[in-house]
């Protein structure tokens, strides 16, 4: 047997100087040959640590082996046994913290590029004329409502419809996908890919109702008269701000608004599309997570001469994925670490023109285990800005918690859920994703959806709560 290459097959990417001028995807995907070579690096470990590292327990060695053998039709079938949304997961999952983190090959060099292979096999299927549908079990006569058409709701719907239940997704926006379409930018996850995956879920027999606002048009209590079980995956709610003087000046956005304008409403194509967005020249994005990286890279593509990340801790503490930080650095994003905004100053039209900041230093570790940033007194300085994006998180969506009787709500406005079953305090109602946990990742929402789906199925069969 040939000696294994310790390096992953690299994935071709758009060059930074080109890609900051467009919204097209950054990585270009593997060719068939590249995928086979990469798949052959897998050791097919007996104990399968990678599967345990996956929140939705994909049979990773199984689908990778089939790619290595060039049997792509069976590889995608294997994948879809456990994951209905591989084109999405292959792009946005933090594999480096999950399956690839525990990959045995990774101990000797690079781990197997599981995420890239997942993406490859999903994209391969999309190019085929006929997409093979999995077996759908005989109708059970049970009806399930999924409230919210984001990653959690789509997962629950995809799982339950295969088991023969009748499933309807209710989505408040005019498009399905939740954060996948309003939040994650085109250059990281093209909307056409989300559409493709949604179309697949639809083709399995899931009914889809868009522009349907649950909590207003119908309450969960009303749904329980019509459906045998309800899954709530309503995701993000009110964005957090910092309560700083001048924070409502024009030009200051929440990340949710900035990204929704650009992604969902396609403001980056204004005036072809009607929704506007300010194309700042000096853009400061506050925060150190993936949403902050998405925002700052969007700002660059909207024409910012200077796009900055303002983060109160240091690079080491940033919660964003390494790949996102790396891409942002390559594209010329400026990182202002140990910097805390304390006020905004406006021009005579009410538009933000300066952000006043304090320098910070790292002190003792705090509750999160990260060193607590402490302001340096008298270190005030001002940064010229014309657009600011506040990307420090959000509370769960308030609509369902506020309109459902007998639902236990946590301190942060989240729905209290038993994480092992997805059950809420109300019989017949399950929940998962950001509405239960607060802001987290797409894959954790899908993992929660997977757990909820299994327990909804049990509940529908046994009627035991």
């Amino acid at each position: 047997m040939a000696k294994m290459n310790p390096k992953q097959v690299p994935m071709r990417e758009q060059l930074p100087k080109d890609r900051i001028k467009n919204f097209k995807e950054v990585p270009c995907g593997y060719s068939d040959e590249e995928a086979v070579i990469e798949a052959k690096r897998c050791l097919q470990c007996k104990n399968q640590p990678c599967v345990l590292g996956c929140p939705v327990e994909i049979d990773i060695p199984g689908f990778v082996k089939l790619i290595a053998e060039g049997d792509f039709p069976r590889a995608i079938k294997k994948m879809k046994e456990t994951n209905s949304l591989p084109a999405i997961c292959g792009r946005v999952c933090p594999q480096e913290d999950q399956c690839q983190k525990v990959c045995v090959v990774g101990k000797m060099g690079d781990p197997v590029a599981i995420g890239r292979l997942e993406r490859f096999i999903a994209d391969w299927e999309a190019k085929q004329a006929n997409i093979e549908l999995p077996e759908i079990k005989a109708p059970t006569g049970k009806k399930v409502a999924c409230v919210g058409g984001g990653p959690a709701g789509l997962t629950v719907a995809g799982e339950l419809v295969k088991l023969g239940h009748s499933v309807t997704i209710f989505e408040a926006l005019h498009e399905l996908g939740g954060v996948l379409v309003y939040g994650i930018p085109e250059f990281r996850l093209p909307n056409s890919i989300v559409e493709r995956e949604v179309e697949y879920i639809h083709s399995l027999g899931v009914e889809i109702k868009k522009s349907f606002i649950v909590g207003k048009l119908k309450t969960i209590d009303e749904f329980l008269e019509e459906f045998d079980a309800v899954f709530v995956g309503t995701g993000a709610g009110l964005p957090w701000f910092m309560d700083l003087p001048g924070e409502n000046y024009n030009g200051i956005y929440s990340a949710n608004e900035y990204l929704t304008r650009s992604n969902l409403m396609k403001a980056y194509l204004f005036p072809e599309y009607d929704t506007p967005i300010e194309r700042g020249k000096q853009v400061a994005v506050i925060g150190g997570g993936n949403v902050a990286m998405d925002s700052v890279r969007t700002a660059l593509r909207l024409g910012a001469a200077k796009a900055m990340i303002i983060y109160r801790r240091s690079k080491k503490e940033m919660p964003a994925r390494f790949e996102e930080i790396h891409h942002a650095e390559e594209e010329g994003v400026i990182f202002e670490f140990l910097t805390l905004p304390i006020a905004y100053h406006a021009d005579d039209q009410g538009g933000v023109k300066e952000m006043e900041c304090l320098k910070m230093e790292l002190g003792e570790p705090d509750a999160s285990g990260r060193r607590r940033p402490v302001p340096v007194e008298g270190s005030n300085f001002r940064i010229p800005v014309d657009v600011v994006v506040v990307a420090i998180g959000n509370s769960p969506n308030p609509l369902v918690p506020a309109t459902t009787s007998g639902l236990e709500i946590g301190k942060k406005g989240n729905i209290v859920v038993d994480a092992t079953t997805g059950k809420t305090s109300k019989k017949g109602v399950f929940a998962g994703g950001d509405i239960a946990t607060g802001a987290a990742t797409v894959i954790s929402a899908m993992g929660a959806g997977k757990i909820a789906a299994k327990n909804i199925d049990d509940y529908l069969k046994t009627e035991q709560w």
Binding site: H174, K216, P239, L264, Q349, P398
Partner: protein
């Protein structure tokens, strides 16, 4: 989402009756919808002016001021909206406040209608003051009158009622007798600010209905934020009605102009569209 009826009720004011069974069933006074006229369109919030459960319809009235509303005004009965979601926002609190003064300006008068009707049903004794630039723009007088004990009309040019602003009769009424339980006002921001300033010294509870710029309208984007009592509130989920004595109107006026330069660009597009037509 089909437009069943269209009526031009005044210069630049258009009424649509839209087929929307579930919204019609649930809508309460003061709530709004968000619609997109076409696929590449904006999402814009509009107050539900009427909801007919039997006919399964809702009515909206909009002023053709900018690109989107002007293009919307070109849609006709039989056309379908690209998307329509609602009812959104907290309903206007309805109870018997005793004597109530209702003020409406421009398209705001349309938004008053469901609220006036509900106040009347709750037993309020209503005085209405309607205002507009000129007589044609003082719409729905007869409908408002139906629910009102007294009706005052003011116009900027004196073409109908008294020449002046809605705050003139308001001041006169309050100076005569200030035992009103509520003042409710919908109209342009400067009008709502002026009304709130008039009622403040009389310590009369004053509600204003805000029309902030929104996208999702479900408490996700934070675009509609407004300062009320020194705290940031979100018009879509905390409002749209707020205590007029607490609203930072200056900030609101600035925020309403957020995309004024974009609006100019869109107007060029509209001119081109009209020429092509």
């Amino acid at each position: 989402m089909k437009i069943l009826e269209k009526e031009r009720i005044a210069e630049n004011l258009t009424k649509f009756v839209i087929n929307a069974e579930l919204i019609a069933e649930k809508a309460l006074p003061g709530q709004f919808i968000i619609l997109m006229g076409w696929k590449k369109g904006e999402r814009i919030p509009l107050t539900i002016v009427d909801a007919d459960k039997e006919k399964k319809t809702i009515t909206i009235i909009f002023q053709e001021v900018g690109y989107t509303t002007k293009l919307l005004g070109k849609m006709n009965a039989g056309d379908s909206l690209y998307s329509l979601v609602g009812p959104l926002g907290e309903p206007t609190p309805i109870k018997n406040y005793g004597k109530v003064i209702i003020l409406g300006g421009g398209v705001g008068i349309a938004e008053l209608l469901p609220v006036v009707r509900a106040y009347k049903e709750a037993g309020c004794v209503i005085t209405s003051i309607l205002g507009g630039r000129t007589s044609d723009l003082v719409i729905l007088q007869d409908q408002i009158k139906e629910f009102s004990e007294e009706l005052f009309i003011t116009t900027d040019d004196g073409s109908l009622g008294e020449k002046g602003l809605v705050t003139d009769p308001l001041k006169q009424l309050l100076e005569k007798n200030s035992d009103y339980g509520l003042v409710f006002c919908v109209g342009p921001v400067p009008m709502m600010r002026a009304v709130s300033n008039v009622t403040r010294p009389f310590k009369i509870k004053t509600l204003v209905c805000l029309n902030s710029i929104m996208i999702d309208g479900t408490g996700m984007c934070g675009g509609c934020r407004v300062t009320v009592g020194n705290k940031t509130k979100f018009t879509c989920v905390d409002g749209p009605d707020f205590d007029g004595h607490e609203v930072d109107f200056e900030e609101l006026m600035v925020r309403q102009k957020r995309f004024i330069t974009h609006e100019k660009q869109s107007k060029c597009k509209l001119n081109k569209y009209v020429k092509d037509e």
